[in-house]
Subunit: 347 residues, 2 copies
DNA sequence: TGACGTTCTGACTACGTAGACACATTCTGA
DNA sequence: TCAGAATGTGTCTACGTAGTCAGAACGTCA
């Protein structure tokens, strides 16, 4: 009488372990034992219970389990720009890696107006067991995350104030340096840079790597052009660069923008790599099939994601246990295709 | 004594509404009222409770709420190929659309070896309130989903046996026809097709549209080449086509493969659109910046997603309420760029 | 045979929230 | 002034699961 029947005769409520127990002629607790593969259940009983489960179409109620145990077996992922190649590839890798661990994935995108803290708050309410920040961006002040939950960040995140925090991700700085050094090594006097949006740490780091390489080589540092990761912004930057005859080498912060740059150069009649060399970043699947095939720096998501996830899960399940050291970045590679060459001899 | 303290003094358990109530000097129920913005709470009390919440860092426990109410306010999304442009764009749209409705999103990717039914089962255990199938593929037999939950499918899904099911998505068939008609209209004798993997309904439909258009025009139907959505497979198909002098027009089932086709044609010395015209599908951001800029068919995800989600939420919250009719597909567009032209006059 | 250990099972209960309901207080109108 | 409505608050309880513990059924060894 305290509460009306949940659903009437037509749409009766989902069966619970109690219903299974009744049908199998055992106690609810025994059903729970079968459900969790606990020992000390007679084989005959186990089979009877499983049959009852099938008959009723029983499914465990995770909400109840979570309430009781305090753990949801769910990880929250805070995403940004999931439509882009890097973030979406990473998200897939995360889902795949978590799959084998028995955790499921709840995602929140930070869209316009949201801060990372908002997104995290949303996840905390849902009772996730851990949090992943995928490609966090620079929000000015730090990221005040008030939780004792383990937090894994893909990508540098200064100011992350959560206690048990793990950070991993590719070496954007080293990669930016490598790309730039490649161009300098071909004999270019200097290298121009089309940067990603500077709110992204990854974009900041690639730029910093470019700057370091120029400084180390004593090359002059041309002004930076900033895009938004998309081809159109690369095209806009490319038009500026194409108009400048001094430009012979460009490091573009991702392949999509590089496509725009290539287009702008082609329209301006400047040949690649004859007049201008271009290096991209990401090695998107189409990079090898562009005109010309693009020299670029591949990102190795799987390695970082797998190890990051492994550490996160360890941290969740045994907060005391010390975890394997974070992965040292894999050796940087540069895939040299046909968009880079030595500059034309002066004259 | 029945259960040990959850966490010792060092890491004490999360505060519950009871703790807030004690601090604010009210009953737990009143805290619940404040939490849910229910009426009949004195302003002064409301403020006191909110202050107590802040002081304790209280966060509602969604597991308990779900257990009590039978609803989780969570939607499960079954994804496939999330790294591809279409699916990932769609996922972002889904998350954005659900955001405003107060539902959160749990994703499951169907990877190798998983069936859609497996993925759905996983979601049902978690107690989602509704299910979205994003770009489902053809698994041979139907999709036996045993649930009364509303199911929304983006993309045709014959054999979907769930009761309250909604289907929406772009008109792949019409789009395939439009693309083909465009090429025929330019004067090409017939149009070749590089298809997507035929396990995908979207790929099947685009192919069927191509076939229809050819039949309607009385054009001969050349053999179909099948790719896997990725540029490399388009390149492989493109090499075959480039070697065949009869080929003057190609409809490629997505832009990424079209990039591979363009590359193969360029390497073979066949100019686009001089010798061969190419039409893609998707209008990925870089399509306008390829060499040459690609004529393609844009997909209108936002419209379908928004309406589909709206219907899904309606179905969840008032199963009786009849929903607005499903969206009629928006008018098909074809973005004509520079990869298509009339064939060279014979001879 | 009886003490003891191992295997198996059930009764009871907490988890945190919100629904049903009772009741107290204030306001409204005749 | 008092009935009756509107407003505000508390008590009790269910939701489905799994932890704790009591104890039954069975074996084993002295």
């Amino acid at each position: 009488m305290a509460k009306p029947e949940r659903g009437d005769s037509s749409a009766r409520r989902r069966p619970g372990s109690t219903d299974v127990a009744r049908l199998a002629g055992v106690s609810q607790k025994t059903v729970s034992r079968v459900l969790n593969d606990e020992p000390y259940v007679k084989e005959e009983v186990r089979l009877r219970v499983q049959a009852a489960m099938r008959e009723l179409g029983y499914r465990r109620n995770d909400a109840a389990r979570a309430l009781n145990s305090g753990r949801t077996k769910r990880i929250g992922v805070v995403c940004l720009g999931t439509a882009l190649f890097g973030p979406s590839t990473q998200l897939v890798a995360v889902e795949r890696a978590l799959r084998t661990t028995g955790y499921s994935v709840t995602i929140v995108n930070t869209l316009e107006g949201d801060t990372i803290a908002d997104a995290v708050e949303h996840l905390l309410e849902q009772g996730v067991d851990g949090i992943i920040l995928s490609e966090p961006i620079d929000e000015g002040d730090g990221v005040p995350i008030e939780t004792d939950l383990p937090v894994l960040s893909f990508g540098r995140l200064p100011g992350l104030s959560a206690k048990p925090s793990l950070v991993t991700g590719g070496d954007n700085l080293g990669a930016g340096r490598t790309a730039t050094e490649h161009l300098l090594g071909l004999g270019h006097r200097t290298v121009w840079h089309v940067a990603g949006p500077q709110r992204w740490w990854a974009a900041q780091d690639r730029l910093a790597g470019w700057r370091q390489a120029l400084a180390a080589a004593g090359a002059p540092e041309p002004p930076v052009l900033e895009g938004d990761w998309l081809p159109a912004s690369g095209y806009a930057a490319g038009r500026e660069l194409a108009a400048n005859p001094d430009v012979t080498a460009i490091f573009v912060a991702n392949d999509d923008m590089a496509i725009g740059v290539l287009r702008a150069l082609a329209e301006a009649g400047r040949s690649v790599p004859g007049d201008v060399s271009v290096v991209g970043f990401d090695d998107i699947p189409s990079a090898a099939f562009l005109t010309p095939p693009l020299t670029t720096v591949p990102q190795d998501f799987d390695i970082h994601v797998d190890r990051g996830i492994a550490n996160l899960v360890t941290e969740i399940e045994s907060p005391t246990g010390d975890r394997s050291p974070l992965p040292e970045p894999p050796p940087l590679r540069l895939v040299v295709r046909h968009s880079t060459a030595a500059p034309r001899p002066a004259g």
